[in-house]
């Protein structure tokens, strides 16, 4: 829940005082830590001496900046997804007859997909942030996949693995516009829509409210996808991307394009596709050694910050690619990380999500390697998380962190 109203702030203060709480440690992502920052300011203003400290937690990896190298959970989740995707890579390379389209959690940001891409060297690794930066249409994204499918089929390789970030659909500019318009139409007409008995009636109502271009785009989508776009929004009014089966949308469109190419004699191969969505199974896994150590350090450090009377700080542990003994602890003022954003028509201070930086070292590694990975079977098979045994197997953290930190040396 976002803490916004004066009543909510007062209620928080009341609870703190009644329970004689000295310190409040908020564990979460950008939204939770925005709350932490606002609460700290409020308590200071009210003269309440409680100390509020944030801890960066999200598997999505989108809470990071100069002082926060990563959030806990990202290492464990990407290791679990990479185990599964690696197994699928081994399967495609053995069966040699299927294309597997794997959608990966991560909300807006494509960090998880990028990291799982590094860990498995899958054939196609889509990055939402790149689609946005290049202003690509859905057809262009599909064409980029079709290009690889056709080229591999010419080498008698009618198989491969495609990684799709769940936020992709929101990054396609035309879809972004459609989703934003839909968010408004659904919010403004909630009672009317709620009274309608069936989905087709609701859709027709919505089509009439959209611009003709957007209505045409929505009508052009497969029935299942346009239905998923109509689903309930999350408490922040955003579409729940994990409910949209983007991988099926892409497969449908790839199939259609390939059958055109077949008619033109430009594709002689076969295309059978299988879908996966990995999300929930990576959120609650047993933590990797890295995450266990990192959490311990973050928590210990949060307590030290609070005991020293600091408030409005995010617990910060850095130099994470070194051994835990060499990690450096500190705190970052939450206000330093905040920007003003327009949300629901009002200006609000929020911690910005860190998306994949297209000028950053990790993305450059992808660009350098992806043409090779597309055409070959350079698959890596990371296997399951290990807790015992050689430290090179048990304690290594993410490639993303490694590439990001190495460039700083």
């Amino acid at each position: 829940t976002k803490i916004e109203t004066p009543e909510q702030f007062e209620q928080t203060k009341k609870t703190i005082l009644e329970n004689k709480i000295d310190a409040l440690v908020v564990i979460g992502g950008d939204d939770s830590n925005t709350n932490a920052g606002l609460l700290a300011e409020y308590f200071k203003k009210e003269g309440t001496s409680v100390s509020v400290i944030g801890v960066p937690k999200t598997i999505d990896g989108d809470l990071k900046n100069e002082m926060i190298e990563t959030s806990f959970g990202f290492d464990t989740a990407t290791k679990i997804y990479a185990e599964l995707v690696g197994n699928i890579c081994r399967d495609v390379n053995s069966a040699r007859k299927y294309w597997h389209f794997v959608r990966l959690m991560g909300r807006s940001a494509s960090h998880i997909t990028l990291e799982v891409g590094f860990k498995t060297q899958s054939n196609i690794i889509l990055i939402g942030e790149e689609v946005l930066a290049k202003n690509m249409t859905l057809s262009q994204v599909v064409d980029s996949i079709v290009g690889v499918v056709v080229k591999r089929s010419e080498a008698k390789k009618n198989f491969g693995v495609v990684l799709v970030p769940e936020g992709l659909i929101e990054f396609v500019p035309e879809m972004k516009v459609l989703i934003a318009a839909l968010n408004d139409v659904l919010a403004e007409n909630e009672p009317t829509l709620r009274s309608m008995a069936n989905l087709d009636e609701k859709k027709n109502f919505v089509y009439a409210k959209l611009t003709p271009q957007l209505a045409a785009l929505m009508r052009s989508l497969p029935y299942g996808i346009s239905s998923q776009l109509m689903l309930d929004r999350d408490p922040h009014g955003n579409v729940q991307v994990s409910q949209i089966e983007t991988e099926k949308l892409l497969i449908d469109m790839v199939k259609a394009r390939l059958s055109e190419l077949k008619k033109e004699g430009k594709f002689q191969g076969k295309f059978s596709a299988i879908t996966h969505f990995f999300g929930y199974e990576g959120r609650c896994g047993a933590p990797s050694n890295f995450d266990a150590n990192y959490c311990y350090a973050l928590g210990y450090n949060a307590a030290v910050l609070a005991l020293n009377g600091l408030t409005g700080y995010l617990s910060s542990v850095r130099k994470l690619i070194k051994k835990p003994e060499q990690w450096e602890c500190g705190g970052v003022p939450l206000t330093m990380m905040m920007n003003i954003e327009r949300r629901k028509g009002k200006e609000k201070p929020v911690i910005q999500k860190a998306l994949v930086n297209l000028s950053g070292a990790p993305f450059k590694v992808l660009v350098k390697n992806r043409d090779n990975w597309a055409m070959t079977e350079s698959y890596l098979f990371p296997g399951p998380i290990q807790y015992f045994g050689p430290s090179v197997i048990t304690d290594m953290t993410t490639k993303t962190l490694q590439y990001e930190q190495e460039k700083k040396k």
Copy 2:
């Protein structure tokens, strides 16, 4: 491929002689080892001295009998699926707002689902063989799920985990009849159906060929499911159960039943469901220590059998719940394991699939515990396969094998 025609047998003999092959080791499940048995008999009859030895390999766990305790792959696959399902159990118990329906590979047999059930103690564990034995309709299966959903919701638990064997749909007697009739209609009218442009046309053609009862049943299914039933058959003429999203069918039917109960005032809870299908990610995983040891023993033993001039034997390694040093090696004549079955209208010798035995010790353990698991959160979280560390963590094999072998003592 099934070796059946005289030409295929001759071709095999030719290849063996041309390449001066002394021994042929066939690694696979019931179909591959049926081939091994038939080839051994054929070579003996022809006076070819090649030795044919089979090795039991299938993740499905359905190649077993008095002399073959398990097939390799079953241990690894069930450990991978159990890691994922365990993580989901932890997630539902934390989020407390979703029902997760997990379909698991295993073709006809429910061994994988049963074993993953033991390893995770999920709330509902459906066993296809039980549905068949009790002659349950699809509605009765749905009612059994609805019963638990309603009871848990009365305890404010609008969440849980349901395990669905992918073969379930074939075990529901009415669906079994429908699928068998469909197999025939599709096979007999292949050219006509192939010439039809769209699916609805094909469906209408098929409805007219089915009995009115079966056509009505098929029409009553959700559109997606009836479409999946129309998909291409495998080379043996069987429906490919891994393509049928039984978990979605069940969710649709559970939802419909719950909304009736809501109107009658008999259900006040919420029901939001999320689906998973785990199959490919468990077939090509890095082998568990048990499977690595078992494979090594099976292969070594196969070579010993061949070197001793035996042919038509399946490599057998027993006492598998003891330490590898105490395992007992031997061979089982493949003919001993064969039965005559009618396939495509002809009598053929085949190795029978071992389905879940409802009088066996493992199923009895399920029956004894499932009412408790349904209402509580007795979840277990097995975590990822470990290769190093304490042997109680790294070397334990399946619960199924343990329960089966313990009763023999």
